[in-house]
């Protein structure tokens, strides 16, 4: 490996605040649209279109947005489950060294895989049905060098206990478990290698409501116990409010607002955030919202509107919004908004917690 390339991967020379674990800058992921006999590229789906955010050590960042906004693609780019088109993902390794995840070759990713793990949305699809719990939870151990079978099964037993499952279940196959239990298995597998960062992609949205709370509590407990950092991807604002320290809101491939959770829910500064909040049906018949929903639909990322992507649905849009995309700016400490008119608007959030 040449000296230059090493330097470009180790971006230690540019400063990153010490509390930061991850710094994402201008992340882009375009998917080509192919058509015809020779599968020529006829367009691009701009699934993630210049996303910038950061994660502090030990916190939970909630990433919310509606389907197709690019939140899942973003989360998969972080782990290099898919390769981003461009951008920078700087990560502080356990040894303190900074690496740019986007520039690592696939064999250089392996040590990083131990530090970053993922929890998937559908616990039925993310467990190989042909492997029992020992093999499933033990696989990360096996492929990362824990060859001793006894050692492995001890560790798997510990992990199962940690997520609230009985170690005796080790020989069972996933089909013996309910959705909630399966999600616990997925969590146990993600924790097998003592990761520092866990990306959770809608981990409770496939679960029954009476089971959701169990898994959310488990995630909170584990974070405290193991000092984990979470990127929590979700479409359900209630869940995000419950679990996140900070929240980033995405719309058509871009982050429109990012701030500490309570600030975002109580005093949103982007019209889309406000609209999203007002659209959530409140579980109280005495607070029947007037429900003046947004007009229109979420635009397609293959053909997004000009300027601010939200302008066709925004009640406050001006000519400027139509022509120029606003930058994500820090308007208050830790509160980032991408809106030309954020200073003049005063938007309604949700009421105080009861």
């Amino acid at each position: 490996m040449s000296v230059e390339s090493t330097q470009s991967k180790l971006t230690a020379n540019t400063p990153m605040p010490p509390e930061r674990l991850l710094d994402v800058k201008q992340l882009k992921k375009y998917f080509p649209i192919r058509k015809g006999f020779f599968k020529s590229v006829v367009g691009q789906v701009r699934s993630v279109d210049g996303v910038t955010f950061h994660l502090n050590q030990g916190e939970t960042l909630g990433l919310v947005g509606e389907s197709g906004c690019g939140k899942t693609t973003t989360s998969r780019c972080l782990l290099r489950a898919i390769n981003p088109t461009s951008g920078e993902i700087r990560y502080r390794q356990a040894d303190g060294q900074l690496v740019d995840v986007t520039k690592l070759a696939s064999d250089e990713l392996r040590p990083l895989r131990r530090e970053m793990q993922m929890i998937f949305q559908d616990p039925f699809a993310s467990l190989n049905p042909r492997m029992n719990l020992l093999d499933l939870v033990g696989e990360p151990l096996l492929v990362n060098g824990v060859a001793n079978r006894k050692e492995r099964s001890d560790r798997v037993a510990d992990l199962l206990r940690l997520v609230g499952l009985r170690p005796e279940y080790m020989r069972r196959f996933p089909h013996a478990f309910s959705g909630g239990q399966r999600q616990r298995i997925v969590i146990a597998r993600a924790l097998a290698l003592n990761p520092r960062l866990v990306v959770a992609d809608e981990p409770v949205s496939a679960l029954d409501v009476s089971v959701q709370a169990q898994v959310l509590n488990l995630l909170l407990d584990l974070q405290e116990q193991l000092k984990l950092t979470y990127l929590f991807v979700a479409h359900d604002l209630s869940v995000v409010r419950h679990i996140s320290d900070r929240v980033a809101v995405m719309y058509v491939g871009r982050i429109v607002e990012m701030s500490p959770t309570d600030e975002l829910f109580l005093a949103p500064k982007h019209p889309y955030t406000a609209a999203l909040l007002s659209a959530v049906p409140v579980a109280d018949p005495r607070i029947r919202s007037k429900m003046q929903p947004l007009e229109g639909d979420v635009p397609s990322p293959s053909n997004p509107p000009s300027g601010c992507h939200f302008h066709p649905r925004c009640p406050f849009a001006t000519e400027l919004c139509r022509q120029q995309a606003p930058d994500l700016e820090e308007v208050q400490p830790n509160h980032f908004v991408a809106c030309h008119r954020q200073a003049e608007l005063s938007l309604l959030g949700v009421s105080e917690p009861t």
């Binding site: 782990l79 489950a81 196959f173 089909h175 290698l193």
Partner: protein, 377 residues
């Protein structure tokens, strides 16, 4: 019912919960397959056919190539079980008389005598896989001769024993099916796998290749290719050339299927999870991806074997495939190619029944396997 309960509903019936909970995939498949009675019967029948294919000489009555002009076109002899009111398995000998006007042999039953049928009797000597020699046969009569002859399915033009030829044809026809499908599987998994797993330009090339091969009319191409085989090739050479030719067009279906599976599996969460756990590419392919569709490949292959068998039969029947002295079902049926031969000796069509029943059994088995193949669907 929801998706997680369908599996249970299939498998929970006979099994205690605990056994079900720890049941690996093949057990779930077996539990499901077991319920398909007809497929079970087919598997049993096929087992018998495979035994014949493995030891054709053991099941034969006489040397399949032994011809005798005096025994030409003898009709099948049935097996009787009672003689003079007592149980004795025997056959009735035939007596030939030449018709003075047509000069054809006419065969009638010689009512005076019986020929007792012996089991595990000794007959002509043969070699088993080149390992040892024996003369043991499943059944036969003692001291066969022109006067005392036994032909269960009659004889052909050259007076060769149809039954023994059928037994030997089974070996060739079945193995052609198996080898050709084996080659197809190899090509299909290799090319389909490359195409589906790696994508990009290899995928593009392979896909176009599959499309072009699939739009070729198979029978004329096979005919042209087999007709191009040199006449002086040995039986073995022709045999392998034909399996190669059959699988050349046959792998595309499987290739497509494998490609589709890889494509969809690539997007599966559990494959991504394996990748993120740090699994190597080969581990992902062989531990996670291939096992999820091996049962499908087995089912599809089982359904592909009969197609190959029928195609070989077609080609040999037309005189383009295997040629005598090779014996296959198609070669046997070639004797019955025109109306004159059938009118004279309708029993020459009997090898066709072997084709039908084998294909039938393979199809039913394949369907049963396919239905049972995916307990997680």
């Amino acid at each position: 019912m929801t998706s997680q309960t369908t599996l249970s509903s299939e498998a929970r019936e006979n099994v205690k919960d605990e056994a079900f909970d720890v049941a690996p995939n093949w057990k779930l498949v077996w539990w499901r397959f077991k319920k398909h009675r007809l497929a079970l019967v087919s598997a049993f029948v096929l087992f018998g056919i495979i035994l014949i294919a493995l030891f054709p000489d053991f099941f034969s009555i006489q040397d399949p190539n032994k011809s005798s002009a005096r025994e030409s076109f003898m009709p099948p002899q049935g097996i009787s079980f009672f003689h003079d009111g007592s149980f004795q398995v025997h056959v009735k000998p035939l007596k030939g008389k030449r018709n003075p006007t047509t000069l054809k042999m006419e065969w009638g039953v010689d009512k005076k005598r019986i020929l007792p049928l012996r089991f595990f009797t000794s007959g002509y000597e043969y070699e088993v896989f080149g390992l040892f020699k024996t003369d043991l046969h499943l059944f036969g009569i003692e001291k066969p001769s022109a006067r005392n002859s036994f032909h269960l399915l009659g004889t052909d033009r050259l007076g060769r024993d149809q039954w023994s030829r059928l037994m030997h044809g089974t070996r060739v026809s079945l193995s052609i099916g198996l080898v050709a499908v084996g080659l197809s599987i190899f090509l299909g998994i290799l090319l389909g796998g490359i195409s589906g797993y790696y994508g990009g330009w290899p995928d593009l090339v392979i896909q176009r290749l599959i499309e072009i091969l699939q739009s070729l009319p198979p029978i004329p191409i096979w005919m042209a290719l087999t007709a191009a085989l040199p006449r002086d090739w040995t039986v073995e050479q022709t045999y392998f050339a034909i399996t190669l030719i059959l699988s050349l067009l046959g792998w595309t279906t499987l290739g497509r299927e494998v490609r589709g599976r890889f494509l969809s599996l690539r997007e599966e969460d559990f494959v991504m999870a394996a990748k993120l756990s740090g699994c190597s590419q080969s581990r992902i392919i062989f531990r996670h991806m291939l096992p999820t569709f091996t049962s499908h490949i087995i089912a599809t292959s089982t359904l592909a074997i009969p197609v190959m068998i029928i195609n070989e039969t077609f080609l040999s029947f037309l005189g383009l495939g295997l040629r005598p002295p090779a014996i296959s079902w198609g070669v046997l049926l070639q004797e019955a190619q025109n109306l004159q031969s059938i009118a004279l000796a309708p029993w020459l069509l009997l090898p066709g029944l072997a084709v039908i029943f084998t294909v039938l059994a393979l199809n039913i088995l394949g369907d049963g396997l396919r239905d049972a193949a995916d307990p997680y669907s």
